[in-house]
């Protein structure tokens, strides 16, 4: 039985007056690749932010590697939504990736040549070696997302949270990112990804967490990602195309 890397109990969080998340309970085992799926406003981003202490929780406890978040911060990586930063910032791709190492470099020290090389390797892995010196505003959406992924790679965390890494990227980038995620999983890392596209869930993730303000269902994709559960998560807002659930299209999305 794999180690439990994340245990969430009775978590709730509110945004202004509204409770966005309530009674959230789940456990994640090491080496799993989980898709967090749910309709808009289901609290997917809020869930990640609350887990990472970026958003205050109302009740409940979160346990990472059997310890508190503060103690194991260094083992956790985070890829925020691409839109959450200003891409006009005066810096280049390599520099952004190097930022992932700042926690390791420590205070008062500057990134060494070795750190830069490490960052360059990560960029190369994401197929972005040619763009290392490129100003970040000149990168396409897909390329920016790859830079973010490369930055997560150099963090060399054991548990990753990614907020919609596949939104607004080209097919090639999507493939590159998924290859990396599966590699991470193979090397024993745990990855949780907020995901939008129901059609690709089965191909991409071995676990699914269906979320709509609370956990509707959580488990292996085969067991959990059923027509019935999806309908439960999305309420009535699902248009079924044919009988195959791989063709499920959420009608109210977008």
């Amino acid at each position: 039985m794999a180690e439990t890397v994340l245990k969430v109990e009775n978590l709730s969080a509110s945004y202004r007056k509204n409770t966005v998340l309530y009674d959230v309970n789940f456990e994640v085992k090491a080496g799993s690749l989980t898709g967090i799926v749910g309709p808009n406003g289901a609290g997917k981003s809020t869930l990640i932010k609350t887990l990472l202490d970026l958003h205050p929780s109302l009740t409940g406890s979160v346990n990472f590697f059997g310890s508190s978040f503060k103690k194991v911060k260094k083992r956790i990586g985070y890829v925020p939504q691409r839109g959450s930063v200003d891409w006009d910032f005066p810096t280049n791709a390599l520099d952004v990736v190097t930022m992932g190492l700042y926690g390791k470099i420590g205070w008062l020290k500057r990134p060494s040549r070795q750190h830069k090389e490490q960052a360059y390797e990560a960029l190369k892995k994401m197929g972005m070696a040619d763009y290392a010196d490129r100003q970040i505003s000149q990168l396409s959406g897909g390329q920016q997302q790859r830079v973010f992924l490369a930055r997560a790679l150099v963090q060399d965390a054991d548990l990753y949270f990614m907020d919609e890494p596949l939104v607004g990227v080209d097919a090639q980038t999507e493939l590159a990112i998924m290859t990396i995620l599966k590699e991470l999983k193979k090397s024993g890392k745990t990855v949780m990804v907020v995901h939008h596209d129901l059609q690709t869930v089965e191909n991409y993730f071995d676990h699914v967490l269906l979320l709509n303000r609370t956990v509707i269902k959580h488990g292996t994709t085969e067991q959990v990602f059923t027509k019935e559960n999806i309908a439960k998560t999305y309420g009535g807002n699902i248009r079924w195309i044919g009988e195959e659930k791989s063709h499920v299209v959420p009608s109210l999305e977008q």
Binding site: N10, S12, K17, T19, Y22, D23, L58, T59, D88, S137
Partner: protein, 308 residues
Amino acid sequence: MWSLLLNSNTQWVLFSTMILGIAAGLIGCLSFWKRQSLLSDALAHAALPGVIIAFLLFGEKSLFVLIPGAALSALIGAAFIQWISSSTRISEDSAMGMILSIFYGLGIMLLTIANRTAGGNQSGLDTFIFGQAASMVKSDVITMLCLALIVIFIVFIAFKEWKIYLFDPQFAQGMGLSIKSMNGLYIAVLVTTIVIGIQAVGVILIAALLIIPPVSARYWTHSFKTMLLLSSLIGGISGAVGTTISALGSGWPTGPFIVIVAATLFVISLVFGKEKGLLIKYLSFRMHKKQIDVQHVNVHLRTRGMMK
């Protein structure tokens, strides 16, 4: 004190700052919903060079001459802010900060020249920085009153147009409302309110009269209409009470006292306000937390019951 208040000039001044407060409270609500609170601050500072240039050109301090100058210069400032933030990577707040301080710097340059060249006649130009309601003469008061009443009238006559323009501009456009002309009208009433307030409140603090009343009013109501009424009420009270206090001492500036009264009303609203006031919020937060705990227990009981 009473003899002072019975003085007819003081009464006029008092009345005009009250009307100014009402107008500013109304227009402030528009800025509040356009999320451009600090624009008023930038435009007020940007008005300074216009005031001084108008004075240098015409050699008199009557508001009748200074207001067009102030308005023109504020409008140029607004155009620059818009142009810089839309055509470069520089964000709107940086553009506002730049225009505010550069125009103000230009104003100070010109003011220094005016002080040096114009002899005794210029004394009082300095009052535009902090405002001195008592220095207004009757013709100024009348100019101010007329403009303030026009502004108030424009907000009231087009109440429902403002409402959809602010809440859902796209929908407004769909209904055939020209967003461009509404934007123009908005900037026009905003600039008018600012420039008529400069003499009484000063360029530095006039923004407070546009920012504080609407935020305070928010704590009492969810309705746009009530918010407008309350905000203008708070603005009016601040103007009248602040002016009265400043009239008690000789040479006391009006602006700071008006701001202090408004700020006091804000603190009262923040604490006791019936919508989202701190007191109410604290109480409901505790109830909310209790509710969630109860919910949690219920869920546990239910799942346990199911497992049996």
